[in-house]
Amino acid sequence: MAKERIQIMVCGGTGCTGDQGEALLDNLKLELEANALENSVNVVKTGCMGLCSMGPNIKILPDNIIYTGVRPDDAREIVSEHIMKGRRIERLLFTDPGSGEKLATEKELSPHRKQLRIALRNCGIIDPESIDDAIAHDAYEALATALTNMKPLDVIKLIKDSGLRGRGGGGFPTGIKWEIAFNNKSDVKYVVCNADEGDPGAFMDRSILEGDPHAVLEAMAICGYAIEAAKGLIYIRAEYPLAVSRLNTAIRQAREYGLLGTNIMGSDFSFDIEIKYGAGAFVCGEETALIHSMEGDRGEPTVKPPFPAVSGFREKPTIVNNVETYACISPIILKGSEWFSSIGTEKSKGTKVFALAGKINNVGLIEVPMGTTLREVINEIGGGIRNGKKFKAAQTGGPSGGCLTEKHLDTPIDFDNLIAAGSMMGSGGLIVMDEDDCMVSVAKFFLEFTVEESCGKCSPCRIGNKRMHELLEHITKGKGVPADLERLKNMCHVIKDTSLCGLGQSSPNPVLSTLENFREEYEAHVTVKKCPAGKCKDLMEYFIIAANCVGCTACARVCPVGAISGERKEPHVINPEICIKCGACMEKCKFDAIIIQ
């Protein structure tokens, strides 16, 4: 291999390019050419380096020096000083605001990164089908520690002290749940992993199971040790074939190694895991429904109490934790509760994985400490809003959550703040919406999901949600009246107040929160019958601005229904009675003469 030559990585993330990163890249190339270095120094544009607030950023190899806040004009000095003379440019190094120290390398800058991977620590890093690779990355070390150095109550205390709360949506303290199950003496207890991930757009559980299945198996065994259970069950939706296959492989390998089964690692502790398949009903993510489904019954919830930790699967004490929750267990055992509780906010510790989706550049999975703000997530990790549009709202908690708006951009995201803002953490779906999104339609979209996924057991959820959806449909068709909004609000409150399980109790959230935050948009639909975002087809009208129209006839020729008329070289007119709102004319017009009203 050739001797390593100098390479400059220029951050091409939106934050940096928007901040003259492109000009910097050009200048660097020009400077190198001017010094005849273009063949010996390689300049490349990379994806986001994740230090957006400090950008534009560059990294120089093989020195591994990162310069932040680099202006296009700095190109000359970088080439002349760093590249040609090998001298660091101190003023371009990042200054730690706390200590005042200059930070140069990846390692030094690392604490300033917005993303911290705990649950996702091994995803994409190890071979999920090799238990050896997992062990090389510390798998089963925590189980070994627990079995050798800790009593069940020590484990429970550690998890309690860590402040870990359930990542599946409710945010119930994991350690307390384990303690309840521990205190309920029974010959048989169960440890269940809830892998019935169902929020639209959320796929962190799938990614963890596909990328690091042993993390979950190990944590379930630790939980079994802590609550004195010998049997684990993973309830996973059958639509996750890859996760299922990798789990099966992992379970087989763990059994072969004696890391599952009888007398694990020579101890008295025995624990084994079985996979149960779900048919993909969203409501089976609710723990009592999940348990009924595993028992072979219809997947529908029952009244709590009794809570599963007291009486769950086959009426035995049962712990039901979500995949991401389990994925946090081993690091807590290995690094201690203080380490974990030092991350996050006062009442929400550790990190949370979010699935970024919607009108954002870098869609995908991210993991950030609790307390990170929505602004940081969107701009510094998500790469900002797509096509430079304006941020309008972000939906958290999937169909059970509500939307956060501009006023929430700097609110630290944690369990309690989200609830205070009228939304919820849910499983971590985060859907970003821009100025083009109609919030009434957004609410309708989420409600449609709930209507589809309601189990039908209780009347407010079964019928109420359907009626709300019908009313929203009515409103988006321009048939609503102002009184409908109050009716909608009452329905929301009653459905929340009376539904049997979390699904129904939270299903009105998208409606309530949009109604609260975007009331004027609803009003526009029911009073002047207009959709401000121009999304509701029945409420829009295509219109030709006479001043811009040159009479080229292109629109009239493309109109499939002959709704456009006009003389050549004269302004044309659209007949709204005939127009089917297909938008073909607008696409065809070269003079921006056609608008939506």
């Binding site: 986001c48 994409g124 050896d132 596909e210 790469g383």
Partner: protein, 122 residues
């Protein structure tokens, strides 16, 4: 593989495995093959690397792994050259894969489309 009968045996095994998997001066390529990766064509990229590296007489280990979460840039791969930090490439199609082999794997020369580690891990 015999059973691991004690925590000490686990540590011993871990040490051996680390040496075996990561101790050698060998090129390691991970193709991220979770559902997101596979849906974007990661499987053909995985096969491309296996076949092409052999054809081009480059000794390297090609393995699959889960996704890193870069859904916007799938398929993604990670390349570890001996003695260097691992580098992740995004939007890898066969043309890009070819470029990665020729430029980075053969010559250590970076190409556009790198996804720098933008996170810290434990």
């Amino acid at each position: 593989m015999p059973k691991i009968n004690s925590p000490a045996e686990l540590s011993k095994h871990k040490k051996e495995i680390r040496e075996k998997l990561y101790g050698q001066e060998k090129i390691l390529i991970r193709v991220h093959m979770g559902t997101s990766g596979l849906a974007s064509g990661a499987k053909s990229i995985y096969e491309f690397f296996r076949e092409e590296l052999e054809k081009r007489n480059i000794e390297a280990t090609v393995i699959n792994s889960g996704d890193m979460g870069y859904s916007f840039a799938e398929p993604t791969i990670e390349v570890r050259l001996p003695g260097r930090e691992a580098v992740v490439f995004g939007n890898v199609d066969k043309i890009k894969a070819d470029e990665i082999i020729e430029k980075y794997i053969k010559n250590g020369e970076l190409t556009d489309g790198i996804l720098p580690a933008n996170y810290r891990s434990i």
